[in-house]
Symmetry: C2
Subunit: 207 residues, 2 copies
DNA sequence: GGAATTAGATACACGAGTGTAGCTTAGGAT
DNA sequence: ATCCTAAGCTACACTCGTGTATCTAATTCC
């Protein structure tokens, strides 16, 4: 297959395979994943794959398990609105990454859905469970910027839900301005700040 | 294949095939759709399928195109909150139906995504674009129950987005109580009604 | 009742992916 | 320098899906 003088082994090879399966799923979808396709893309022999995994979905799950964890939003400055927007930006960028696509792909596939372990869910998928804006919201709720009772599971989901939906039905990522609108028009009102009837602009009123 | 005295033709046969492909996609996903699988499930010969469609995705798209349109929410009573909940209930039930699954499946599949026509989008997918709560919200906005400027595209999406997200990440449909929470804690606040700090209960304050 | 239509069945050559076996050889360890 | 592990390669038998061709018989139309 490859006559080159270098033959990859161990970590290096596995990393290449992980990258390959994630690219592959982005291109053909989970349902059309094959050992053959993964092998070709990673420039390795099918036998090598079978030595480690039993089928394409196992390869994918393993790849996701070892994927770099998503950067977490750090509520640094005293700027709720800004931090929320930043959190959504992180989420949007992650969803646009190959790993993000792969996760979305797996979650909507009937076959692979049943194979995902508890551990994987915690490690990889939990980010979708609201980690992004939730981290920020909890931080500011604890500091009394808004009543903590308002931070319900539903409210913690609003931002991520809107970003997800936008991606699904328009297939184009929301711009930074779109994210700001989501924060201003949906999240902030839900925690008792707003909405501003006069429209789009909304500097963070904070305390 | 089937020795029975009755041989289906025309409409009847096509309807059976449509039903079959939609069941099939629910079970195996778009990526694993095959003419063979569809044929077997519909108890018809593959030749019959090829006479009409060139590949499995075409069959699926045709099925969706001919699917019964989703029931639209009718904002009848003077009950914004109740109508919103009913709208979300309609949406949830539709998403749980085979057709709903099929649509979700197609929208997240990289291959079929490129084959969907403008027409199909308008006819079938538009419901996800906000038709459910949007219909209700527009109705009450026009009647002055809340300021119309607040009904932005983002706000029109909140309910559907939350329902979608809940389904994707927990894989269990939201209960009626969950839907009520979404309305109370996310939609109503966004249009200037609430949130009620004391918590869950929220009779429609209306005008 | 006869003709036209079209579903059903069967067969076939083909390609793609599978899972395994066996061999060769590069890379790393000692 | 040698040994051992593991990657690369080839081959094979097998299954599944494809697309087409051909024949048959059920249904419908008149």
């Amino acid at each position: 297959m490859n006559n080159s003088r270098t033959r990859r082994r161990g970590e290096e090879l596995i990393a290449a395979i992980h990258a390959a399966v994630i690219e592959e799923v982005m291109e053909v979808g989970v349902g059309r994943l094959t050992m053959d396709g993964i092998g070709k893309r990673a420039a390795t022999a099918r036998t090598t794959l079978y030595r480690r995994w039993s089928d394409p979905i196992e390869v994918l799950l393993d790849a996701l398990y070892h994927a770099h964890p998503v950067e977490e939003p750090s509520p640094g400055a005293d700027d709720l609105r800004g931090d929320l927007i930043r959190a959504l930006r992180l989420m949007r960028d992650w969803m646009l990454s190959p790993a993000g696509h792969a996760v979305a792909s797996i979650l909507t596939d009937p076959v692979s859905a049943s194979k995902i372990s508890e551990e994987l869910v915690d490690r990889v998928f939990a980010v979708r469970g609201g980690t992004f804006t939730n981290t920020v919201l909890r931080h500011y709720a604890e500091r009394g910027h808004f009543p903590a009772e308002l931070l319900t599971p539903v409210v913690a989901d609003i931002g991520e839900a809107l970003v997800t939906k936008r991606l699904i039905d328009t297939r184009t990522p929301p711009s930074d301005a779109d994210l700001a609108d989501m924060v201003d028009q949906a999240i902030l009102p839900a925690i008792g700040l707003g909405p501003d009837v006069r429209g789009r602009r909304r500097p963070d009123p904070e305390a």
